[in-house]
Amino acid sequence: MPKGQYLAEFELYVMSALSLLGDEAYGVTIRQEIEKRAGRRVAIGAVYATLSRLADKGYVAFRISDPRPVQGGRSRKHARLTPAGQRALRASTAMLIKMIPALSGSVTEGGKR
C-alpha cells in the first residue's frame, strides 16, 4: 500500500464485507452485512459513497448484473475487491493486529491512572 493511503474505518468495514460476500456483494447485502457484524445502523448512502471512493482509489470494481429472471427483476451493481483492494485490506488488517495490543495496553494504563 502506498504511503498515505490509509483506510478509514468505514472503508475497512465495506472492504471486509466485500471480501466476505464475494460474488454476492451489492448495495443491500453489503449494508446488511456491516449492520449485522458491527451492530450499528448503516445508511445505504454511506455504503455507496464509500464504494465510490474506494473505486476511485482503485480498490473496488463494479459489475452490473443482468436483470434477474423474475417479474420486475432488475439489474444490480455488484462490487468486488480488486487485487490492489485485497492487498490494501490485508495490509490494513495486518497493521491493525500489530497495533491493537499496544492500543489496549495504553487504554489499560490510562484506566489505572
Binding site: 445502523r41 445505504i44 455507496y48 444490480r76
Partner: protein, 871 residues
C-alpha cells in the same frame, strides 16, 4: 407498497447520477422486505432513516469526488486528453482566430520545411558515397599562381599518383564534348575522360556490366565506354541488352561495357552522360606536355591519413616537381586539398544561407504575430479562466488547457505544412536558375517527419509561453466579474515588443529586397562592352574526321561567309571565347610591381567577329584578314590588359608562349561569363592559330535573329551534314539568364518581404485595436474629465507607433550590421545605402500609421457615457 415519496425524492437528489437507480432499487428491495416482515409503518420509518442518514455521506462524497478528479486531472494522461478536448472546444467556438493561426503557421511551417529539405539535401546530407568525407579535390597552387589556373598536366598527375602514399585512389578527368552519331540527329554528347581509378575514388561499382580495367587504358586497345544511369534511362529505356552495343563518338566506335548506378548526383558535378578512358590523343601534343594544365584531379584519402597529412604529402611532391622541372613547374610549389563536398556546395551555400535567413525571419514574424494574437485572445478569456479557476481548476490545469489549444493549432498547421511543403520545394527547384549540385527530393519523405514535429512543438512552446504569463496573473475578483480590463504595464510592453520585432525583421527583409532589385536593374543596364540586341550565338563543330587545323578553319570560314551573305544579316564572325560561354584558355602574367600573376584570357576571333558582337575599337586598328589567316607576330589587347601593361600599348611588344607579339590595337573589355564581373584582361592573337579548337559563331541581324535560324541551319548543313548547331540562343537572352540568380534572389526577397510587411501591418493593427478595446473605459474617463478626442486618438496611435519606431531603429541597426554579408550578393548598390534605409524606414512608419489609423479613430470617437456604462 410504495416508499415514502418525499424521502425517495431526497435520496434521489443526493445520489450521484451513475448510482441513482441502483441505490433506489436497493433501498426499495429492503423496504419491501421490511414491510412484509414488520409492517408498513416500520418500513416507512426505516426508509426515512436511510434517506436522511444517506444525504450527508453522499453529498460529501460528490464534493470530494470532484476535488479528487480535478487533482488527478493535473497528473494523469486522461486529464491531458480532457484539457485537449477543452482546447478543441474553444477552437471550434472561435473559428476565425483558429483559422488565422493555422493558416499563418501553415505558411510559415511549409516554407521552413521546404527550406530545410532543400538545404538538407544539398548542403547537410553527406555525399552519397562511402566515407564521402575522404573524397577530395586536388589543385596545383603556389604563392604566385593566380586563382583559376589550377588544373594539372598529365605528367604532373602521373607523378603525384606514383610519388604520394596518402591515397587509396587518385584520379584525373576532363570534360569534353564528343560528336554522337548514329543515334538520330548528330549531336554533342557530354563526355568525361577518366583515368583508371576514377570510380574507385567514389567507391562506385557498376549497376550493370563492369567498370574500366587497366587494359582499357592501353593505347590501341578496344575502345570502351560506361554510360550514366540517366543516359541509360533516356537513351536505352533501361534495357539490359545495352551492354556490348556501340556508341559512335567523334566517328569512333566505343563498346558500352557498363552502366553507372543512380546515385542522385552527377559524379562529380557535370551534366555528363558518358565515361571513356583517358588516353592521350594522337597529334594533340599538349595532352602529354607538362606545360599545359587541363586535368581535374580528385582522390580518396586513406582511412588512417588525415586531410592535412595528405595535403602535406602531395605538397612535398609538388615542391619537388617544381625543382625538377623549373621550365614548366616554376611557382607550382604546392598542392591544395579540399573536400569534394565543399567544392560542390561552395557555390550554392551562400544562396541557401540567404534563403534560410530570410525564411527564418518570416517564420519569426509569423510566430510573433500569432503570439500576440493568442495573447490577446487569452486576455479576453480572463473571465472564462477566472470562472474555471473558481470552481477548482488549478493554474497548472488552465496552463495545460492553453498548451493543449496551442498544440492543436500548431500540430494542425504542421500537418497542412507537411502536405504542402513539397510543392514549394518543386517550385524552388523549377525556378532556381542554375542546376543544383545535388538532387532535391520533391516528394513527401518520411525523413521530414522529425523536423516537422520538432518545428511544430518548438513553435507551440514559444507561443504558449506569453499566454502562460497571463494565466499566472489571473486575479479572481476582478477577472471573474470582468471589471479588470486594464492591461498591466508588462503586458503592454510585451505586446509592443512583439510588434517591434516584426517591424525590425520586416525592415531587414525590405532593405535587402530593395537592394537586390536594384542590383538586378543595375546588372540589366551594365555596360558589357558589347551590344547584345539582335545577336544570335551558337556552337558548331566540323566533322571530327577533319582532323587537320586547316580543314577546321576552312569550315568556320565557310560557315561565316555563307551566313554573312544571308539577307538580314549585318555581320558575322566566329571565335574561341564568346561572351556568356567561356573565358577561352588563360595564362598568368606578372604586371609591374605586383607579386601575383594576373590571369589573361586568350581569344582567337575571325574577321567580322568584333563587328558582329559590337565591340568598340579604342586605339590602333583591328587585325586584317591577312593577319588573321597568316599572322604570326601581331596581336590585339583589350582595355583591361592595356591597363595592366601600363596605358598606351599600341606599337609595343608583348611576350606570350615564347613569341613576341606586336600590339596593333586596343578594344573594349568584354564581360565574358557574368555581367557582374569586371572585364578581364584578354589577348587576341591571329585566328588561324586556333587550329582545330571548337569555335562559336556570332551573327548580328536586323530584327529577331532567331527567325534566321532555319536558313542558317540549312547553310551549315550544306557545308557539313554531320555538324549540329548546339547551344543556340539570342545573346540578350543569355545575358538575362546570366542575371538569373540575382533575379531569383530579388524575386524571393521581394515575395518574402511582402509577406513580412503584411504580417507586420496586421500586428500593428491588432495591437492598437486590442489596446483601444481594453482601454475603452480609461478613454471614457479621460474624455469625461475633458481630454480632447484628438489627444485620445494620439494616445491610441502611440501604442503602434512607438513599437514601430523601435522596430525601425532596430531593423536599421541589423541591416547595417549585416551589410557586409549581404554586400556579397549585390552589384552596384551598397547594402547600407542611405536612400534604401531611409526609404524603408519611412514606408514602414507610414504602414504602421495606416494600420493604427482605424483604431485610433475609434478611440477618438468613443462616447464617454457609453464607455463608462457598459461592461
Amino acid at each position: 407498497m410504495t416508499p415514502p415519496r418525499l424521502a425517495r425524492w431526497l435520496l434521489r437528489l443526493a445520489a450521484p447520477r451513475a448510482d441513482r437507480e441502483f441505490l433506489l432499487a436497493d433501498v426499495a428491495e429492503e423496504f419491501e422486505r421490511i414491510a412484509l416482515e414488520s409492517g408498513r409503518r416500520a418500513a416507512r420509518r426505516w426508509y426515512w432513516g436511510q434517506a436522511l442518514a444517506s444525504i450527508r455521506p453522499l453529498g460529501r462524497e460528490r464534493a470530494e469526488q470532484r476535488l479528487r478528479r480535478v487533482r488527478r486531472a493535473r497528473l494523469s494522461t486522461s486529464g491531458i486528453l480532457a484539457d485537449l478536448s477543452q482546447g478543441a472546444r474553444f477552437l471550434r467556438r472561435h473559428p476565425a482566430i483558429s483559422l488565422t493561426v493555422v493558416a499563418t503557421l501553415a505558411v510559415a511551417f511549409s516554407v521552413t520545411l521546404a527550406a530545410y529539405s532543400i538545404i538538407h539535401a544539398v548542403v547537410l546530407a553527406p555525399l552519397p558515397f562511402q566515407s564521402s568525407d575522404k573524397i577530395v579535390r586536388v589543385r596545383v597552387t603556389g604563392p604566385t599562381i593566380a586563382r583559376g589556373v589550377r588544373s594539372s598536366s598529365r605528367p604532373d598527375f602521373e607523378d603525384w599518383r606514383q610519388r604520394s602514399s596518402s591515397f587509396t585512389a587518385l584520379a584525373a578527368y576532363t570534360n569534353q564534348q564528343y560528336r554522337l552519331t548514329g543515334r538520330g540527329e548528330p549531336r554533342e554528347a557530354e563526355t568525361v575522360r577518366v583515368t583508371s581509378d576514377f570510380h574507385a575514388v567514389f567507391g562506385l561499382g557498376p549497376a550493370l556490366g563492369r567498370m574500366f580495367h587497366d587494359a582499357d587504358f592501353h593505347p590501341g586497345s578496344q575502345r570502351v565506354a560506361i554510360i550514366t544511369h540517366a543516359f541509360w534511362v533516356s537513351e536505352f529505356a533501361q534495357s539490359p541488352s545495352v551492354l556490348g552495343k556501340t556508341l559512335r563518338l567523334d566517328d569512333r566506335a566505343y563498346e558500352i561495357v557498363g552502366v553507372l548506378p543512380d546515385v542522385g548526383m552527377q559524379t562529380p558535378s557535370d551534366q555528363h552522360q558518358i565515361w571513356i578512358p583517358l588516353i592521350a590523343r594522337e597529334g594533340v601534343f599538349w595532352e602529354s606536355s607538362r606545360e599545359t594544365g587541363w586535368l581535374t584531379v580528385i582522390g580518396r584519402v586513406r582511412d588512417n591519413v588525415t586531410l592535412e597529412q595528405a595535403d602535406a604529402d602531395l605538397s612535398a611532391v609538388a615542391a619537388n616537381l617544381a625543382r625538377e622541372y623549373p621550365d614548366s613547374n616554376r611557382g607550382k610549389t604546392d598542392a591544395e586539398l579540399s573536400p569534394l563536398r565543399d567544392d560542390l556546395i561552395g557555390p550554392v551555400a551562400p544562396m541557401l544561407q540567404l534563403l534560410a535567413a530570410a525564411l527564418g525571419a518570416v517564420l519569426i514574424i509569423g510566430c510573433a504575430n500569432i503570439g500576440s494574437l493568442l495573447a490577446a485572445s487569452a486576455a479576453n478569456r480572463n473571465r472564462e479562466f477566472a470562472v474555471r479557476s473558481a470552481i477548482g481548476a488549478g493554474r497548472l490545469h488552465l496552463a495545460r488547457q492553453i498548451a493543449g489549444e496551442t498544440l492543436l493549432l500548431s500540430v494542425a498547421a504542421g500537418v497542412v505544412a507537411f502536405a504542402a511543403f513539397p510543392l514549394l520545394v518543386r517550385a524552388f527547384v523549377a525556378l532556381y536558375p542554375n542546376p543544383l549540385p545535388r538532387e532535391v527530393p520533391t516528394g513527401i519523405s518520411i525523413s521530414m517527419i522529425v523536423p516537422a514535429v520538432v518545428l511544430a512543438l518548438t513553435v507551440a512552446a514559444l507561443l504558449v509561453f506569453p499566454q502562460l504569463l497571463r494565466v499566472g496573473r489571473i486575479r479572481a475578483p476582478g477577472d471573474l466579474t470582468g471589471t479588470r480590463t486594464i492591461s498591466s504595464r508588462g503586458e503592454r510592453a510585451s505586446r509592443g515588443l512583439l510588434v517591434a520585432l516584426q517591424v525590425a525583421l520586416s525592415f531587414v527583409l525590405i532593405a535587402a529586397g530593395v537592394s537586390f532589385v536594384r542590383t538586378v536593374t543595375r546588372l540589366y543596364n551594365v555596360d558589357t562592352g558589347y551590344r547584345p540586341e539582335g545577336v544570335l550565338v551558337f556552337n558548331v563543330n566540323p566533322s571530327p574526321t577533319q582532323t587537320s587545323g586547316e580543314a577546321a578553319l576552312l569550315f568556320y570560314d565557310q560557315v561565316v561567309q555563307v551566313i554573312r551573305d544571308l539577307p538580314g544579316v549585318t555581320a558575322a564572325g566566329s571565335a574561341v571565347a564568346v561572351p556568356m560561354t567561356s573565358y577561352g584558355w588563360q595564362f598568368g602574367i606578372r604586371s609591374q610591381g605586383t607579386t601575383t600573376d594576373v590571369l589573361v584570357g586568350v581569344n582567337l576571333a575571325s574577321i567580322g567577329y568584333f563587328d558582329a558582337l559590337g565591340v568598340r575599337l579604342r586605339q590602333g586598328r583591328l587585325l586584317t584578314r591577312d593577319e588573321q589567316l597568316r599572322g604570326t607576330n601581331v596581336a590585339m589587347v583589350n582595355e583591361p590588359l592595356a591597363r595592366v601593361l601600363g596605358g598606351a600599348p599600341v606599337g609595343t611588344k608583348f611576350n606570350y608562349s615564347g613569341r613576341s607579339w606586336e600590339i596593333v590595337g586596343v578594344i573594349d573589355g568584354v564581360r565574358h561569363v557574368r555581367p557582374r564581373d569586371e572585364p578581364r584582361p584578354e589577348l587576341i592573337i591571329p585566328w588561324h592559330i586556333a587550329g582545330r579548337r571548337p569555335q562559336a559563331v556570332v551573327v548580328r541581324a536586323q530584327g529577331d535573329p532567331l527567325s534566321l535560324l532555319p536558313a542558317i541551319r540549312a547553310r551549315v548543313q550544306a557545308i557539313d551534314p554531320t555538324a549540329p548547331l548546339s547551344d543556340v540562343a539570342r545573346l540578350d537572352d543569355r545575358l538575362r539568364d546570366a542575371v538569373g540568380l540575382e533575379r531569383f534572389r530579388a524575386i524571393m526577397l521581394a515575395t518574402l518581404s511582402s509577406i513580412a510587411v503584411i504580417l507586420a501591418a496586421l500586428g500593428a493593427y491588432s495591437v492598437t485595436a486590442f489596446s483601444v478595446a481594453r482601454r475603452n473605459r480609461e478613454y471614457g474617463i479621460r474624455l469625461a474629465l475633458g481630454e480632447r478626442p484628438a489627444s485620445i486618438g494620439r494616445r491610441a496611435m502611440t501604442t503602434a507607433i512607438l513599437p514601430a519606431m523601435l522596430g525601425v531603429i532596430a531593423g536599421a541597426g541589423i541591416t547595417l550590421a549585416g551589410a557586409r554579408w549581404v554586400q556579397t550578393f549585390l552589384y552596384g548598390v551598397s547594402a547600407s545605402d542611405v536612400t534604401t534605409i531611409t526609404g524603408t524606414a519611412l514606408s514602414l512608419m507610414a504602414i504602421a500609421v495606416i494600420a493604427a489609423w482605424p483604431s485610433a479613430r475609434r478611440a477618438a470617437t468613443i462616447d464617454p457615457v457609453l464607455a463608462l456604462a457598459t461592461d
